[in-house]
Structures are given as structure tokens and as C-alpha cells.
């Protein structure tokens, strides 16, 4: 008998996330691909001192209205509630927006530490974490603040810096469809960081638009194999 991965609610799925946990959150950072229902459940849970690993820190509901009519929910809610101690990502705050996102305000007050990582380096560090590798050498960041404190190496005629893997206690991700085993397929640009994060966390929790019995996903089109997924919640779009 297969383990039952299907949870009744997002609140149940995130219930054991603990104070001080490291949590990856998938998607690009705005809409499409962000597991907004799991983020809302994590904010209701109220745990604190989280380290968040995500592409963007979110803009919060007020600023999001400038990006999409009516606005949208993102990671801003976790910063507003003071649940985050450290953020690791490529766009903590958007330079094209006023400096009033929840993350930027919290950072200014000294309440949130940030580690800024180039987006491709972020993806690859997570892939290394999920794939059991000790890191990689990249030319990205050479000659910039990103190289500070990192090992440098010349390979061929090019200079590289060493980047180390990232893992997490939990990954919150979004997919379009799952089967009961946890095989996942995505929709459009809502894929992004979700597949790489699925492999890099101790417990991977996915919210999906639709849950189907095993056998109904074409095995040729499965993007995330089920062994990377621990918990599944079906949410209405």
C-alpha cells in the first residue's frame, strides 16, 4: 500500500513547519507558479525566524496592484507578519518599484538579513542541493560584489567562482496537475523554480489545480517524478 500523500488542506500540509526552519518557495515570484495557498497557510501558522529561499521577495498586496489589476498575493505577507529572519534570492525587492515592499521595509529596520544571488546561480545551487553535488564553478559574478569571499579558479582561459549547494527543510511548490503518487506536470511559465526545489528539500509540499489517479498522467510528459514529492493538496484555482 502506497503512502498517502494527499492532504485535506494547506493548513494540514504545513502544520509541522517549525520556528527557524529553512523553506524554499517555488515559482518566479509574482503570479503563476507561486504556491499562494501554501504561503497563506504558513502565514496563518505564524512560525517565526524562517529562512526563505525564493527567486523574489515579493512586493506585497499594495504594490502588486501596479503590476496586475486588483493585485495578487505573494511572499510579502510573511514579511509583513515578521516571520522571516533571512531571505536568499535574486530579487529581494524590485528596483522599478517604490522602496515600500514588506521585505524592503523590514530590511531597512534591520529585521531581515538578505543574501542576493544571481538567478541562474540560485537555480543551479538548488539543483546541486537536490542532486547531491558539492557545488559548481560559474563565470557569473566575477568582477562584482557576488565574488566577495568566494574561491576563484581559472579554468581554460576564463575566471570562475565557486558556488555552494542550497537545501531546505521544506519546499512549498505549485504544479498544475498531480497524480496520487505525486508525479507532477506544470502549466506555462508557472514551472520556473518548482521542479528544482522539489528535489532539494527534506519535505516537499505541492499545491495543485487538479489531482488525478495514478495512470492518468502521460508518463512521457511528467516533469517532476513522484519521489521528490511528499505531500499534495488540491486547491481550487
Amino acid at each position: 500500500m502506497a503512502v498517502n500523500k494527499v492532504m485535506a488542506s494547506c493548513d494540514e500540509a504545513v502544520a509541522d513547519i517549525f520556528d527557524g526552519a529553512t523553506v524554499m518557495v517555488g515559482g518566479f515570484g509574482s503570479f503563476g507558479g507561486l504556491p499562494v495557498n501554501l504561503i497563506a497557510a504558513l502565514s496563518r501558522l505564524g512560525v517565526k525566524n524562517l529562512t526563505l529561499i525564493a527567486n523574489m521577495g515579493g512586493v506585497g498586496l499594495e504594490l502588486s496592484k501596479r503590476i496586475k489589476p486588483g493585485g495578487y498575493q505573494d511572499l510579502g505577507i510573511l514579511f509583513e507578519k515578521g516571520q522571516v529572519r533571512k531571505f536568499i534570492g535574486s530579487v529581494p525587492a524590485l528596483g522599478g518599484m517604490p522602496p515600500t515592499s514588506p521585505l524592503e521595509r523590514q530590511h531597512k529596520e534591520g529585521k531581515v538579513e538578505i543574501e542576493i544571488v544571481p538567478q541562474g546561480t540560485l537555480a543551479e545551487r538548488i539543483r546541486c542541493g537536490g542532486g547531491g553535488l558539492g557545488g559548481f564553478y560559474t563565470p557569473v559574478g566575477v568582477g562584482t560584489v557576488v565574488e566577495e569571499g568566494k574561491e576563484k579558479k581559472v579554468i581554460g582561459d576564463r575566471e570562475y567562482i565557486l558556488e555552494l549547494p542550497l537545501t531546505a527543510d521544506f519546499a512549498l511548490i505549485k504544479a498544475h496537475r498531480a497524480d496520487h503518487l505525486g508525479n507532477l506536470v506544470y502549466h506555462g511559465t508557472a514551472r520556473c523554480f518548482n521542479p528544482v526545489m522539489a528535489a532539494a528539500a527534506g519535505v516537499t509540499i505541492v499545491e495543485v489545480d487538479e489531482l488525478v489517479p495514478a495512470g492518468l498522467l502521460d508518463p512521457e510528459t511528467v516533469v517532476t517524478p513522484h519521489i521528490f514529492v511528499n505531500r499534495i493538496v488540491e486547491v481550487s484555482r
Partner: protein, 220 residues
């Protein structure tokens, strides 16, 4: 005040650089306008860092799908033959030299082609997104930007004072006043906005510009 080119015209001029069959990535902001401005008769494959290749125009209001967005969070139109992939594969394309042209915005470009486009004083929490990967990995980097800041300070400078994105990476700078090529000998002024003289553009440029022998008005 003399007229300067508007953002759409800058993007239109940048898009003229896209050869038929090119794989092109468009950065955050003004570069995104290029998606709608590809010269007629040319097929261009737009790659978006969030995991999409071969998308079309920016979507009209009635056709917006928020799971079909470019890297500027703008919904775009699907085209036959397009495909999706995850962020790791997307940046394999970008770092691995599989992108022919990237168009990026900038705060400053130096005379050596150094790019500064992600951080500025007083905003320590802004990030570079995919900008560093793109500036390092794309075969050709085109910058679109306004020639001066709101206060009138030059953005084409001898040395960047803002945080660097990547060094020696920019090939061409398209501004509201000029088209400038970065060469081993320095910055060559190729084209100039209608009604402006090379001396007037130089006055608004910190780095030295070398007017090309065949200098023309900006051609679209």
C-alpha cells in the same frame, strides 16, 4: 528643450539589430517592448528567463493569461512551436552561450562596456535577477536606456559608480539621443537623434565619443 526619442522608438531601434532566426532575451522594463517591434519578415525566437522559448507579442487585455508571462511579469501570446522549461534549464541556455542577443536596461555603461544595471544608492535590497547571467552568457549584449538621469547626469561614463553587473560585456548602447558601439578603441558614435549634433551629445556623455565617419541620424 530638443526632442529626444521615446521609449518605443528606442526599443524599435534595438529590435532592428535582431537578425532572422536569432534567439533573443529581453530584460526587465523597456527591453520588453522589443517583443512587439521585430522587423517584418524576420523570425525571432524570444527566450524568457522564467522558462519559455518562442513566445509572441505582449498580450492584449482580453487575452491575458497570468501563467504565460515574460520576465517583466507581462502576459504574452503563445506561438506555434513554443516550449517551456524550468529555471535551471533556462539558465543553462543563458550561461551556456545559446542566446544570440540580450537587450538589457542599465543605470550606467562604461567606456569599456562594463554594465551597471541592478543596484543603486539607497536601495540595498534590490537584486540583479537574471541580469548577471545574461550579461555574461549572451553572445551579444545590447543596452537600451535614457542617455541621462532625471537630474541630467550622464549614464555613459568613464567608470561605473553603481554596482557592476558584468565587466566588458556591452556591445551596443541605444539611448534617446544616440546609438553607440563599444569597441576595443573606445565608444563609437554611430547614430544620433534627429536635430542633435555630436557635440551636444558629447556634452551629456562623460566618456569620450568618437563620431563614426559614416555617422547618420538614428535609422529605424
Amino acid at each position: 528643450m530638443k526632442a529626444r526619442l521615446d521609449e518605443s522608438t528606442i526599443a524599435l531601434r534595438a529590435a532592428r539589430e535582431f537578425p532572422d532566426g536569432a534567439v533573443v532575451n529581453l530584460g526587465y522594463g523597456m527591453p520588453g517592448l522589443c517583443a512587439n517591434l521585430v522587423p517584418g519578415g524576420r523570425a525571432v525566437y524570444f527566450q524568457s528567463e522564467n522558462g519559455m522559448l518562442g513566445y509572441g507579442n505582449l498580450a492584449a487585455d482580453e487575452a491575458k493569461d497570468y501563467e504565460m508571462i515574460n520576465a517583466s511579469d507581462q502576459p504574452v501570446v503563445a506561438l506555434p512551436g513554443m516550449c517551456f522549461f524550468d529555471s535551471a534549464a533556462s539558465f543553462d541556455m543563458i550561461r551556456g552561450g545559446h542566446i544570440d542577443i540580450v537587450v538589457l536596461g542599465a543605470y550606467q555603461v562604461s567606456e569599456k562596456g562594463d554594465l551597471a544595471n541592478w543596484g543603486r544608492p539607497g536601495r540595498p535590497a534590490t537584486g540583479m535577477g537574471g541580469g548577471m547571467d545574461l550579461a555574461v552568457g549572451a553572445k551579444r549584449v545590447i543596452v537600451t536606456m535614457l542617455h541621462t538621469t532625471k537630474k541630467g547626469e550622464p549614464r555613459v561614463v568613464k567608470r561605473c559608480t553603481y554596482p557592476i553587473t558584468a565587466r566588458h560585456c556591452v556591445s551596443l548602447i541605444v539611448t534617446d539621443l544616440a546609438v553607440i558601439e563599444v569597441t576595443g578603441e573606445g565608444l563609437v558614435l554611430r547614430e544620433i537623434a534627429p536635430g542633435w549634433t555630436p557635440a551636444e551629445v558629447q556634452d551629456l556623455t562623460e566618456a569620450r565619443l568618437m563620431p563614426a565617419d559614416d555617422l547618420t541620424e538614428v535609422t529605424l
